[in-house]
Every structure is written in C-alpha cells, then in structure tokens.
Amino acid sequence: MVASSSPSLSVELNGLKLKNPIIAASGTFGYGLEYAPLGDLGKLGGIVTKGLSMWEEKGNPPPRICETPAGMLNSIGLDNIGIENFITEKLPQLIRYDTAFIVNIWGRETDDYIKAAERLDEAKGIAALEVNISCPNIKKGGITFGTDPSVTFKLVQAVRKRTALPLLVKLTPNVTDIILIARSAEDAGANALSLINTLLGMEIDVSTRRPSLANITGGLSGPAIRPVALQMVYQTAKKVNIPLVGVGGISSVADVIKFMLAGASAVQIGTANFFDPTICWRLVDELEEYLRNDNISDVNQLVGAMREE
C-alpha cells in the first residue's frame, strides 16, 4: 500500500498559503539572505524576518547571548535595519526566491505597529506580517502588549485595519493564561497565531559575579523550552479557531510532528538553525519521507491528531 503520488505538504494558514509547514523563525534566520549560501531558500515553507521597526535600532550592548542547558539566552534588543532599509535593500533580493516572506514587526507604541503595517502593505513580495507582541528584550512596549488581553486586542485590531496582508500574532509564554491572549488576538482579526516567543531567563557568571548578558535578563530558547511550547500549542489549539504556528525548541522531524499532532498547522525553527544550520531544508525532506513511509497523503492530517482516549 505505497502511496502512488507524493504526499501533499502544503498548508494554508487562514489566508497564507505555504508550500510546506517548515518556516524559519524570526531573529534566527536574519533577513533570509544570511542562510542563502547553505541552500535554496525557495524550498522552505516560509521565512520570518528579524523583528523590524519603523526606525533603525541599535539593540542592546554585548554580550547578547549565552548558552544554557539545552538552550540559550538572548538579549539582542531587536537590533534591526529598519523597515525602510529592509524594503529597499533586502526585499529586491528576496523576491527571487519562491517562498513566503513573513515580516516580523514590533514597536514601542501602537502607532509604531500601525505605521509598520501601512508601510509594508504597500511593498511587493511580502506574504504576511507577524506581529511581535512578545519580545522580552525591550524595556518598554513589546512584552506588555502581549500580556494583557485588552491591550492585545486593541493593538491587533489597529494593525488589522491598516493592512490586507495576513496577520500572524506572536504570543509570549510569560503569562498566566495564554488562551486569554490568544482569543483576544483571534477576536481582533489575527489570521493565525505563532507561539511561543522566548521565556524570560537569566544567567550569572560566578567567576565575575556579573550577569552573563549585559542586559541582565534575556529570552530563553532552544530544546529546553520545547515542552513548554508544546503544552501551550496544545492548550491553545483547543480554544481558538484560527491556525497555530508552533515555535519553541523544534530540532527534529519528530518535533515537527509533535507540534502538528498537538494542533499546529505549521512550525517555525529558531535556535536549531544555530546548532544545525541546514536543518530547515532537511526537515522538509524528512517530513515528506515520514508522510510517505506512514502512508499519509496530506500533511494536514497530522494537525491535532494526537490520540487522547
């Protein structure tokens, strides 16, 4: 009973079509071009850019990263070239790759998000926006947007009005009840939700008695947080009606499948790009192979298919 044709890998996130569910996560794949020497970007389901703002942002002083058990901390501080530079310098190079470019945006005020959405709405070659309401590395804005349901609602609604692009809203795990935030984003018109961003964390260098990051605290990512992300995807999938994109510690095709079984329609690969820089490409192949071996004709059959009885 071998499947006669290739399994279908394409997924649709409520208005955003992807050729496969493997997306490179924001902040871990640069603007895409950084990884171009390693493979054909056009093979990937999608690429989310580093978080962009209306202005050029310097970011936090170094050291900005530090390794932790099965994870890492970062306090990049949303260092980015600004949306204008992105549109003029990066986008023209990106559009020759047949993949979905998703622009991750952030701001300090609602207005920053609105302007970003308006500006990007005009640009050609962008598949969707990912609204980052969850970065733990900026002191003002950012994190607060994603921890209060009504603030989330208002922000997403405001952005929704300014762009016809599909909106992914990226949620923070640093909340008591992620479902409240997820529902607010859904009600405000998000097409899909990406979860999770990094967990707040910190590390100290005992020999110097100083924090390992100049910014003192940072965001924890990598395999260490995978169980937290998987749990949040699972819980949220049961309570919202829009597709979810699972992010957090994914580093193998088994992990991809776990997130889909828990209810994610697609996944993002973050920290794993650092310790396994060709992983995104390999996952596309391995996912296809898995489906073929298990005689699954369509990857969407995995979504939410965990057995609970």
């Binding site: 902040g27 071009l33 050291p63 900005r64 310790f275």
Partner: protein
C-alpha cells in the same frame, strides 16, 4: 554589491577527525580534511564546530583556521589550534581520529591584504591562543612575497604556540614570555613598542590576535606610530552567519557615535582604530 553574500562559499559538512595532537598542556591541534573549506578559506577566517551531536553543549564553537593542509599543492584540509577552557573545548579534545564533527565554514571577514603594497612591512603580533590564526596569515603573506615581522608572546615557553611552525616557515619570531622562560620577559606589546620606537617612520601594518588588553595596547601603539592595525576579536556566537546578531562588538561610526558590528560577518578582523574598548 548586494549579491556579495550569496556568492560567499560556506559549507556545512560532517568532517571526520584526521588527527588530534596535544601541543602543550591544555593546547591541541586538530586536523580536518576538507578540500572545500580549505580552498575557500582566507587568513583570519574561522569555522564553527558542533562538538557533540546532542544538546550539551548546544551551540557550536568558533575556531580560527590555523593552517592549511596541502597535498601536491592542493588544499585538502585545515587545522585548528585550540586551548581547553570549558566544556566544549574539553569534549573537543577527547575526539579521536575517525570521530566526526559538523563544521560550518569558512566564516567571517579575515585580514584585508589586498591593499598591502610592497613598501609595507606586515607586523604579526600574537598573544597566547591568539597565535592560532596568525600562522595561516604568515603563510599567505609569504606566498604573496611579503616577509612579515613576527612577534609572539605567552605566559611561558610551554605556551608559546606554533613557534616551531613559524620557524620552519623561515621566520625568526621575536618572542616574549611573562615568566621569562623564553625570549624577553614581559608582554609581547612591550616588545612591539620597542620595535616600533626603534624603527620610527616604518611603513607597516599591524596584524594582531590575542587577549583584549593586548589588542587594545596594540591598537594604541599603532595609533601612536600612525600605523594601521587589523585586530581579530572574539565574541560569543550562535549562528556564525550574521543572522542572530548575537556576536556584536561596539564600533565607532564614521562621523560620530557607534554601531554594533558582527564579529562573525564584518569581523572577526576589525580596524584597530574603529574598535570601542
């Protein structure tokens, strides 16, 4: 110009260890076979090594290319010279011939050599494990028919790395050790200082790698003698490709203020006068 990045040859390969040799207590030279990486590599560039397949340690480790291994004039591999300082390097030192490592490289912008004119004297200054990338640089300069003056410093004779290799290339490095067990007792930058003082007006450029205080001193010496300096810096890394923005250092802007530049992309080699210490 925008397409420059795409033309870069960067390989992600599983390479098996050819040789692992202890060169001093806590210092090792590891040989890896890879025609691709060695052919694409330039002095000052580095590789990222994923030391273990598992999640501990998670991130890859940056190591400069120490020398190129040739066979019949083809580049077939390269070596790294490293010091055991923590978990990753300790595990690395336990790898034996036949075991494999995932290697990403060559990475970064190495030493700029194209502008070196024949009147210039390249001065190589290495301190401690900072000597690692400088052997490859010396080789390359020789191939381009320059004869660099080489300064090497270390804590003790034992830790004077690659001295033999420099000598067998025909160099006579000027040597200092902090304990005086070999060469002049003191810092290598003291040696450099006297040399520059003795040869005032020299048309030269300084190429240095070593601990931060040494580099800062080298930069300030270069400035005093109105020489250009190229210094190889270190910073914790994740991607090595310019994507994560984790590895930045503070660099002076042309006009005023500063920006953060990536050690893995704009660096690891920076102009001494641009660095904000």
């Amino acid at each position: 110009m925008g397409f420059q990045l795409l033309e870069k040859k960067i390989y992600h390969l599983s390479l098996s260890v050819q040789k692992q040799k202890s060169v001093a207590p806590g210092y090792w030279v590891l040989s890896l076979q890879s025609p691709q990486i060695s052919s694409a590599a330039a002095p000052g560039q580095f590789v990222l090594l994923k030391i273990d397949k598992n999640f501990d340690p998670l991130l890859p480790r940056a190591m400069s290319i120490h020398s190129i291994i040739r066979a019949d004039n083809y580049r077939i591999g390269f070596t790294i010279l490293y010091k055991v300082v923590g978990k990753g390097t300790r595990l690395l030192s336990e790898k034996r011939s036949g075991e494999s490592l995932a290697v990403l490289g060559p990475l970064g912008t190495g030493f700029k050599l194209s502008h070196i004119a024949s009147g210039y004297e390249p001065i190589i200054v290495g301190g401690g494990i900072g000597i690692a990338p400088l052997l490859f640089l010396a080789q390359e300069l020789m191939e381009r028919s320059y004869t660099p003056t080489v300064f090497l410093g270390a804590n003790s004779q034992e830790e004077l790395l690659a001295l033999d290799e420099f000598e067998s290339l025909g160099f006579t490095p000027k040597v200092s050790t902090e304990d005086g067990s070999k060469g002049v007792k003191g810092m290598v930058t003291d040696l450099l200082g006297s040399y520059l003082e003795d040869s005032k007006g020299l048309q030269a450029e300084i190429f240095a790698c070593g601990p931060a205080p040494m580099l800062e001193k080298a930069a300030s010496l270069a400035k005093s003698y109105k020489l250009n300096s190229q210094l190889s810096l270190e910073q914790r890394m994740a991607c090595g490709l310019g994507a994560c923005l984790g590895c930045v250092v503070k660099i002076k802007n042309k006009n005023s203020g500063h920006s953060y530049q990536r050690v893995c992309t704009e660096g690891p080699v920076f102009n001494g006068e641009d660095i904000i210490w």
